[in-house]
């Protein structure tokens, strides 16, 4: 790939001369789809990213959101006022507003070429985005998408990706607490690896990626620069070629989690001692990308002497030093007087450190052994790429073609499908408890972390649903937002903010771009309805291969907060009535199976389910119910439908006896309308009263003592038990252990 002719013309016009080879390479990478969002930015204005909790929205290395504090919840307003006066001038850590950072990144193409290193470096990149903001990483969530599980190549990619995340995340001591795994035939030629990271900081420690002051030094800290990952940004902006596994291997970086861990700790000391004016991690387009973006954001320029960069390979040329995507490197803006101290800290952590240049108010200019190799306006380099105005085509309306099956056969097929089956094999390989904050571990609807700094519980849910967005990109994307919010509410948390990772195929195909536009619009609309600001994200297009485009995949990572760290369990307890709330399916129109695992198993098509009219009040009410003293257990109903959720609540000690009235058993048990939950309570009336008018709330049954699950539905009975459910849900473990 080289700089497109039309882009070259723009560059020549701006510079008044031909670009040097290093400049041409910089423009090629920074103006690539991966860096410049040329096809997606026109669509992204659909997102609402503001809210009073939002400190920094989209555009920085990571977003920053303020957490509500429960530290002084029992102190009255007057007392608080006098406390504040008493503490005036002696502000303690506890008085500072606590912030989290949120970021999400895709590492799709690298993970196809080299699943272990591709996924591992994806983790490394998003963690460094967290460091850039002066934050300490406290949680990771990975949403992964592969081709059909029974294919050997899918399993090879799946095992490699999980192992890569496990290796890197565990080693750097950041718990992986959430995520999702889905299998769908259209990811066969192009798996997706979407990694989200949450970091913790406060108002005093916050750093941004906006250069502050001409005269400040630019300091590069971390691994030596080698020739790895050359041209990664442009590689990520093309369809994957059939020979990508061999041809593109040099574009994939290799991770060193030990160096990353040292970088995390060094960064923490740099922030402790207030030595950083601004920071940016080195990711796509390497040093050239990070340093130019840093100064461009501050409306400034830089002079950089490339030979000063500490290198680990001999005889590198200017272009290689500028564009290599060697991992575990950060670029800091440091005041001249602080440079020596910064160097000492880097040395203490055995990290390389070089002062590569300084911030100026002129052009972004790089020299190599005295020769100027880059001299361009930083803003033009970062922001000058023209946007694409691409044609869209509406996807066809689904027809209704519903295969009928026996409900026991359907139950077994859906429950044991790799997408709905237990993901224990995956999250057991992730250290999900390091950090001593994990109150609700993976395997539940959402993870809950203890943020003791402000006595707030932080719930995290991340995922998308390829079957849903394949069936209906617009409604499916709305459903994904509602489903993630429902996951949080099921654990008693109220949504606070979200980041998205929008994955699509080749946008130059109108039907692909049409689907992509719809997932953007759907996600934006539901997040807005739920008052969830979308504070940042990532776009990955050209996820297209000889096997065709991927389903449009909007991964959403949502965080929510609650006043404590406890949450109702997912599994049923031995007492309390079981209620189903929010199920709209049984209206005059009948159940809609579109996007369901049932249809994925038995082939066929249907319309996507209708969504609730007032999802925001549903989510709010569910969060309140989950935290009620009478509540015994709560489980969100989504993938696989009601049958799967019921099965997941059963344990060897506690079973469920359920009866439903419906003349459409398959529809009732397997449709996947989001915005539903199973609530077990000792006070059913309170649950009925808690939800707004129009929300269906029905009593389903009661627990049994023997671990059996009995579902009676219109004269049919489905009988199973905890042992059989466990066997059915072990699909992934059985195959890979």
């Amino acid at each position: 790939m080289s700089l497109a002719d039309s882009d070259r013309e723009l560059v020549v016009e701006e510079l008044g001369r031909d670009p040097t080879p290093a400049e041409a390479a910089l423009f090629e990478n920074l103006w690539s789809e991966h860096c410049a969002y040329r096809s997606s930015r026109p669509l992204l204005s659909a997102f609402e990213s503001e809210g009073e909790q939002v400190v920094i929205g989209p555009g920085d290395d990571a977003a920053v959101v303020e957490l509500p504090s429960n530290s002084d919840a029992d102190v009255s307003g007057d007392d608080r006022e006098s406390n504040r006066e008493a503490n005036a001038g002696t502000e303690t850590e506890a008085d500072k507003s606590v912030y989290i950072t949120m970021g999400i990144e895709s590492h799709n193409h690298p993970s196809y070429v080299d699943p272990f290193d591709g996924a591992a470096t994806g983790v490394g990149g998003i963690v460094r985005d967290t460091l850039s903001m002066g934050a300490y990483p406290i949680a990771l969530a990975d949403s992964l998408y592969f081709g059909e599980f029974d294919r050997e190549h899918s399993q090879y990619l799946f095992e490699g990706v999980v192992e890569g995340i496990s290796h890197y995340g565990n080693c750097i001591g950041v718990p992986t607490v959430g995520g999702s795994v889905d299998f769908h035939p259209n990811y066969e030629g192009n798996p997706l690896v979407n990694v989200a990271c949450v970091g913790l900081t406060n108002e005093d420690r916050l750093v941004t990626a906006e250069a502050q002051e001409p005269g400040n030094k630019l300091v590069l800290i971390g691994n030596g620069t080698g020739r790895d990952g050359l041209g990664g940004a442009s590689f990520a902006s093309e369809d994957l070629a059939e020979d990508a596994e061999t041809e593109d291997r040099p574009a994939v970086q290799v991770g060193d989690p030990y160096a990353e861990k040292l970088l995390i700790e060094a960064n923490e000391v740099l922030v402790d001692e207030n030595l950083i004016e601004s920071a940016r991690d080195l990711g796509a387009a390497g040093l050239g990308g990070a340093s130019s973006e840093l100064v461009a954001k501050g409306g400034l320029g830089a002079t950089i002497e490339l030979e000063r960069v500490h290198q680990r390979e001999p005889n590198m040329n200017a272009l290689e030093i500028l564009l290599a995507e060697s991992q575990e490197r950060m670029c800091y803006e440091v005041e001249p007087d602080n440079v020596d101290r910064v160097r000492e800290i880097a040395e203490r952590f055995d990290l390389g450190c070089s002062v590569i240049g300084e911030v100026t108010d002129g052009n972004y200019s790089c020299s190599f052994n005295g020769e100027t190799v880059v001299d361009v306006d930083a803003y033009f380099l970062g922001e000058g790429a023209p946007m694409n105005d691409l044609p869209v085509e509406k996807p066809p309306e689904p027809t209704v073609d519903r295969p009928e099956t026996d409900i026991k056969e359907a139950f077994e097929a859906v429950l044991s499908s790799p997408s709905t089956a237990s993901k224990r094999w995956v999250y057991q390989q992730y250290d999900h408890e390091v950090g001593a904050r994990t109150s609700v571990p993976p395997g539940d609807d959402a993870a809950v972390m203890a943020i003791r700094e402000c006595e707030t519980g932080l719930a995290i849910s991340s995922g998308a649903a390829p079957n849903w967005t394949s069936a209906d990109p617009l409604e499916g994307a709305k459903a994904i937002a509602l489903e993630n919010a429902t996951n949080l509410a099921a654990k008693g948390a109220t949504p606070l903010a979200a980041v998205d990772c929008l994955n699509g195929g080749n946008p130059e195909k109108p039907e692909v771009y049409g689907g992509f536009k719809r997932i953007v619009d759907g996600l934006a609309e539901m997040c807005s309805t739920l008052s969830i600001p979308v504070v940042g994200g990532n776009v990955s297009l050209y996820n297209d291969s000889a096997a065709g485009p991927i389903p449009p995949t909007p991964t959403l990572a949502v965080v929510g907060t609650k006043a404590d760290y406890e949450a109702p369990p997912l599994a049923a307890e031995s007492n309390g009535e079981l209620m189903l709330v929010g199920d709209l399916g049984n209206d005059a129109d009948g159940y809609r199976l579109g996007g369901s695992e049932y249809l994925a198993q038995f082939s066929g098509s249907d319309r996507f389910p209708e969504l609730p009219d007032a999802p925001d009040s549903f989510v709010e009410a569910l969060a309140a119910v989950a935290d009620d003293d009478a509540t015994r257990a709560v489980h969100d109903v989504s993938h696989g439908g009601l049958a799967v959720s019921l099965a997941e609540m059963v344990s060897p000690d506690v079973g469920l006896e359920v009866s439903l009235s419906s003349d459409d058993p398959v529809g009732a048990l397997f449709h996947e309308q989001p915005g539903r939950a199973l609530v077990q309570t000792t006070d059913p009336d309170a649950v009925r009263d808690a939800f707004p008018d129009g929300t269906p709330v029905v009593s389903l049954g009661a627990p049994t003592e023997d671990g059996t699950l009995t579902i009676e539905i219109s004269e049919k009975t489905l009988e199973t038990d905890a042992a059989e459910i466990r066997t059915l849900r072990r699909t992934i473990e059985r195959e890979l252990e």
Binding site: E163, S166, H167, N170, C171, I172, G173, D256, P257, Y258, K261, L262, R348, F349, D350, Y427, Q428, Q429, Y430, D431, H432, E433, V434, G435, A436, R437, T438, S439, A450, R452, Y565, E737
Partner: protein, 226 residues
């Protein structure tokens, strides 16, 4: 009294240990390995993590760092030393305890809650428990399979230096309850003195009541014994 939590490059459970000890009101500080062991050290934690990225072999490089000579001297003087997870690997590599922790039978990293049977209740680390008591404590390791040659294991058992074994909920030492293939279900052992102990499971992760279990508190209390 001050417990020193030794931080090597790549340690990642040092802060968790500090927080857990602080909850138990045991004075503790994190000590960077290059700074040497503070003179006032009254207890030592070798925390979990991936010291030196586990390059070469888990714990091997940390075991050879200069501070470990000081740790061995302190241990010989009776200062309590607790190695957890990577710290247990460092403990074995540095000769504080016998045997080695090596690659899990599954060849994969495993993070899960397991049950441990308390083999002795007369050591600083287990005074809070009864012999035979079953504790629920998480593991998080890829290299936790206890390996030792048969003669030395026999010796170790004869000397009553096995502190914890993996068991089921009822305290039975079954194969199923052994998460990583450890010989004789060994999860933790004592050194030459009862004041030195290493174990793969993480007591510091089940000490803070606000995130769940508290079964690990008793183990950490061992650091108070002088």
């Amino acid at each position: 009294m001050t417990v020193s939590i030794i931080r090597f490059g790549g340690s990642n459970c040092d802060r968790d240990a500090e927080r857990a000890l602080s909850h138990l009101e045991i004075d503790a500080e994190i000590v960077w390995h290059e700074d040497g062991l503070p003179a006032e050290t009254t207890g030592i934690v070798l925390p979990g993590g991936f010291s030196y990225g586990d390059y070469l072999r888990a714990g091997a490089m940390a075991a050879r760092s200069p501070i470990m000579a000081e740790v061995r001297d302190a241990a010989a003087d009776g200062v309590p030393v607790l190695g957890v997870c990577n710290g247990a690997q460092v403990g074995c590599e540095s000769g504080l305890t016998d045997g080695a922790f090596t690659t899990n039978e599954s060849a994969r990293f495993q993070c899960e809650h397991v049950y441990l049977r308390v083999e002795r209740d007369d050591t600083p680390w287990t005074e809070a428990y009864d012999e035979g008591e079953v504790l629920e404590i998480p593991i998080a390791h890829g290299e936790g399979r206890y390996e030792i040659d048969d003669d030395r294991l026999e010796e170790l058992e004869a000397e009553n230096r096995v502190l914890f074994r993996y068991c089921d909920e009822d305290g039975e030492l079954t194969e199923d309850a052994n998460p990583n293939g450890s010989k004789h279900n060994v999860a933790g052992v004592l050194g030459d003195r009862d004041s030195v102990a290493v174990l793969m499971p993480h007591p510091e992760r089940v000490t803070l009541p606000d995130i769940g279990g508290t079964d690990g508190q008793g183990v950490l209390r061992g650091l108070e014994s002088v």
